[in-house]
């Protein structure tokens, strides 16, 4: 952690990128084909504003979560496995952040995926956990495959790109090259190929969507909450899920998106923000509510990058990492205390768990974007960033508005959760154990993170941090400016946020429970949301039932048709043999008859068949 922060600080003082030594992982000598100058795949590290920013997040949150785990996990078995996998994850995540080419990036990308697979399935005795782990791996796998295809397109299309005489990108190991100006390197390098570049961009977006649980690959993240809360906080809120956003960021910085790609990204991001928020509105499970909000917040980051402001996206990522981890850890200590995740069983916890309640509230305010908490600054930047680009394409409008609407929902659902859990006199389910605060190792991280959640947004005003954001090559960072439009935007969004909080208070405050009439038509909507728009059902149906049925049919075909023909051939020989044996009648006269028949046959051969064939073949 210390090292990470140091690197980041160093980066703050002097923006720029440092690439230190790399080793060749696989080298193919020049040979005719698509890689005339040869091909080498390397492992190296690249430290630049983006990576250093991520590095801070990964190391800090990682450290705090480790600390928190000591308390949270102490009564679980298999702790060595837990810490080993967690450390492996942190290592891979660091590698991913420092990767200096897409292949290496993909390598660590897969590794973090596997770690998340292991950690989600940490309670593997629980069938639901095992299934959730599998689901997470598979869905992200779909994204990975698209990402891989994107890599192929880029690698072979631009194999010769790069400074003249350098042998080209392929020969140099496809390392990221800093665009000299605000223009990404590859987009200009080869001039044309815009179609291919678009396709590649879309494929990479697919990869990012898989990892960052963007629509339509979002289904796995809520289920991933089967894992320990600490894991959810670290991997499924702060770091790994953010890797998708990070991928989009570096792609837009080093490779560049075409306008079509940007529109697609904006669409995905904008829609996801709203889409996920709606599902969070009704859910009774505290962790899943936070999970949905994660999806929605990731949507904001994607939105910003789509609008062309990678650093803004990362800025939101930075702040979000802290307050979302905070929320998860707070929820974790709640669960630790009462042993359930069902909001409707809790209630009145704030009396027993002041620290947690305060931490959750701070996180909530940050998430809702209430100034001066961290969330406000970054989310405000995102919105204004998109707003500044509205002119570039009319279709930006709807998604911009969706994002705005999401602000309101966000504020509502997170405080709904807070009121349900903490407000009121006592727990609704009397069977719950008496709540109590966790040990200090659990409280310290809460406090620290609360601090971050408050101030992280203000870092923008530190010159070093600002330069870090501005130093992001190829894009203009947006420091908070107080121009009229932004003031307008900010006030609107804050207004929406307060509105959401207010609504939540009016419905759930002081332990009230707002029960929806069974008969009301809204029930249909509620059911739709609770079933997550039936996405998971649909995927299961296609993925498991559909494919499995096909494969069973294929298996049948394989056993009985393909293999059957072979066995049929065998039986045919057996049959023929059996029949022919009857000729061996044992009567010598028959044998003599065969001889005479053979003689006649010979004459036919010699006098008729032979001449005929020779006539056809024209001599032997």
């Amino acid at each position: 952690m210390i090292l990470g922060v140091l690197i980041a600080l160093g980066e703050m003082w002097s923006p720029g990128s440092y690439t230190n030594v790399q080793f060749t992982w696989l080298h193919l000598a020049p040979a005719p084909g698509p890689f005339p100058n040869g091909l080498s795949l390397v492992m190296g590290t690249l430290v630049d504003p983006l990576s250093s920013l991520m590095l801070v997040v990964v190391t800090v949150v990682g450290f705090l979560v480790m600390l928190y785990s000591i308390g949270y996990m102490h009564h679980d078995h298999g702790l060595p496995r837990y810490y080993a996998e967690l450390s492996l994850f942190l290592a891979s995540m660091t590698g991913l952040v420092l990767a200096n080419n897409l292949l290496e990036f993909f390598l660590f990308w897969e590794l973090v995926g596997v770690c998340s697979y292991f950690l989600i399935g940490f309670y593997y005795e629980k069938p639901s956990a095992a299934s959730a782990a599998k689901e997470a791996f598979l869905v992200t796998r779909v994204g990975d495959v698209l990402f891989l295809a994107g890599i192929f397109i880029l690698f072979s299309t631009y194999s010769l790109a790069g400074p003249v005489g350098s042998g080209g990108w392929a020969a140099n190991g496809f390392v990221f090259v800093q665009g000299s100006t605000a223009v990404p390197f590859l987009a200009t390098a080869m001039g044309g190929h815009t179609t291919l570049l678009t396709v590649a961009g879309l494929l990479i977006l697919g990869g990012a969507a898989g990892k960052s649980a963007q629509f339509p690959l979002h289904v796995w993240l809520p289920d991933a909450m089967e894992g320990p809360t600490t894991v959810s906080a670290l991997i499924h809120a702060a770091t790994m899920v953010a890797a998708g956003v990070y991928l989009l960021a570096i792609t837009s910085v080093f490779i560049g998106f075409t306008p079509a790609d940007q529109l697609a990204i904006v669409a995905i991001g904008g829609f996801t923000t709203f889409f996920a928020a709606t599902m969070a509105v009704v859910h009774p499970d505290i962790k899943r509510v936070i999970a949905y909000s994660t999806i929605s917040q990731l949507g904001y980051m994607v939105l910003a990058i789509g609008a062309g402001f990678a650093m803004v996206g990362l800025y939101h990522l930075f702040t979000h990492a802290f307050f979302k981890a905070l929320l998860f850890l707070a929820a974790g200590s709640v669960i630790h205390a009462v042993g359930t995740q069902d909001l409707f069983k809790m209630g009145g916890l704030k009396k027993h768990m002041r620290v947690t309640a305060a931490a959750f509230a701070i996180g909530g305010l940050a998430l809702a974007g209430i100034p001066p908490f961290a969330g406000f600054w970054s989310k405000d930047d995102v919105l204004s960033a998109v707003y500044s680009q509205l002119g570039s394409h009319p279709l930006y409008w709807p998604f911009f508005l969706l994002a705005f609407a999401a602000v309101f929902l966000t504020a509502y659902y997170i405080f709904r959760a807070w009121f349900l859990a903490f407000s009121g006199e006592t727990t609704r389910d009397p069977t719950l154990p008496a709540a109590h605060e966790g040990p200090w190792v659990m409280q310290v991280p809460l406090v620290i993170l609360s601090g971050f959640a408050v101030v992280a947004g203000l870092f923008v005003f530190l010159p070093g941090f600002q330069s870090l954001l501005l130093g992001g090559a190829g894009v203009a960072g947006i420091p908070p400016t107080y121009g009229t439009t932004d003031l307008l935007l900010s006030s609107v969004s804050v207004g929406l946020g307060l509105g959401g909080v207010g609504l939540a208070w009016s419905m759930w405050g002081n332990g009230r429970v707002y029960a929806l009439a069974e008969t009301s038509p809204v029930q249909a909507v509620r059911r739709l949301l609770l079933n997550r728009y039936y996405f998971k059902v649909g995927y299961d149906w296609i993925g498991l039932k559909g494919v499995y049925t096909i494969s069973r049919a294929a298996d049948f075909f394989d056993r009985f048709v393909i293999d059957g023909t072979i066995r049929g051939l065998q039986r045919m020989f057996a049959f023929a043999s059996n029949r022919a044996r009857a000729l061996q009648s044992g009567f010598v006269s028959d044998y003599a008859a065969y001889v005479v028949a053979g003689l006649l046959g010979l004459f036919v051969l010699l006098l008729i068949v032979g001449p005929y064939l020779l006539g056809r073949l024209g001599g032997g």
Partner: protein, 105 residues
Amino acid sequence: MTELALTGFLGLSAGLFGIGIFGILTRRNFILLLISIEIAMNAAILNFVYFAAFPSGTSGLSGQSIAVVLIGFAATEVAVGLAIVLALNRLKGTINVARANDLKL
């Protein structure tokens, strides 16, 4: 001799041969079988004799000598055949070849 005569002779030996083969195919009695074989054999021997009658510049065994040799050979063959059928008759009490078909399939 004339071509015509030759064809006539050939017809004769062909007929003999045919009779012999027919006998071999139809007879079940071993002795009759032997006789049929001998008839067919004689067709071949006859052939050698006619063709010997033709003036041909080639040397080698003459048709007559071949005929004589073959007659002798036929005798030995018959002798062996009879020896076998005697032994068979002693064991099975029949000389009907159709009755000896333990070895089959």
